[in-house]
Subunit: 178 residues, 2 copies
């Protein structure tokens, strides 16, 4: 099993624009990549995200219940509105706490992958602790110039696969460790 950071980004590396909007993402032609991504996320054994990503999904997507069946941990210090689904609000302020949370997620995933779906600060922390194995980014065909960073740190990568799906460039990397 692997811990995978799976996200969409602009060509210049932003996962949301300056106004925290993803309109640039959903106007692009994802070809069959979108439905594949939806199928794909069903294979995740556990999902991790930041409060920003959680709030984006619950306020922008037309969801009455949580779209994922895998248990989802949301890193937050705030009270977030709850919707139906297996959602676990938590905080991990120290490296030890993040290690412990990751261990718990790996156990819960029971051999399947652990997915981080946003954001860039958590990805950088996981990579720094040696807990991130794969970075899988789909580049929407746009530059934004500013916004929320893909990955807030220096991480060496090794390309595994490069392909085009609709107008998205899909890049899969292994994280170089040690």
């Amino acid at each position: 099993m692997s811990t995978v950071y799976m996200t969409a980004t602009s060509v210049d590396g932003f996962i949301a624009d300056e106004n925290n909007s993803l309109d640039w993402l959903f106007t692009a032609d994802g070809g069959e990549a979108e439905s594949e991504a939806e199928d794909h996320i069903a294979t995740a054994g556990a999902i991790l995200m930041g409060a920003g990503t959680y709030e984006w999904i619950t306020t922008h997507e037309d969801v009455e219940k949580w779209p994922y069946t895998a248990p989802t941990w949301v890193l937050t210090h705030r009270e977030l509105s709850r919707i139906e689904g297996d959602i676990r609000f938590t905080a991990a302020d120290t490296d030890e706490e993040l290690h412990a949370l990751h261990r718990k997620m790996v156990e819960s995933a029971d051999g399947r992958d652990v997915w981080l779906v946003g954001g860039g600060g958590i990805a950088a922390d996981l990579a720094r602790l040696g807990l991130l194995d794969v970075v899988d980014v789909s580049l929407a065909p746009v530059t934004l110039g500013a916004g929320a960073p893909l990955l807030a740190g220096r991480v060496g990568l090794r390309p595994v696969k490069v392909s085009l799906a609709g107008d998205f460039a899909c890049l899969r990397y292994e994280v170089v460790k040690g």
Copy 2:
């Protein structure tokens, strides 16, 4: 002929790191892409760059004379040290001046491409004025978390080609205009 922004960047969209260093770029395996890029730049009819890129080349590369035969315009407000070659220091502070410079470069290129090789502010200005046709980026296998931006603005793109050269993901886009 096209006006092409041709550059290398990190996966998260930085063309230089926070210390204005490119060490992360030159330690990566570019496969045959590097020598191809050198051959390729010989086909450019005119080259444009900012002062930062010029200073990087003249101070970091082991050059006694300018490596390019095409006339090179360097946008700068400062006195820069000169080395042997067809180098033209200039400034373009208004849209009209940038339009005029671009016209002059197109004439000089005489049917060949005009290349912008850095940086991201000039690329954004050219795109805003409808003067940029192609963005050709080679992604080095690393994230940096901070640095000089690939393209300092919002520009719609259409993918033309995606490939892997050594450890670099090579992405070529047409700029969507109008």
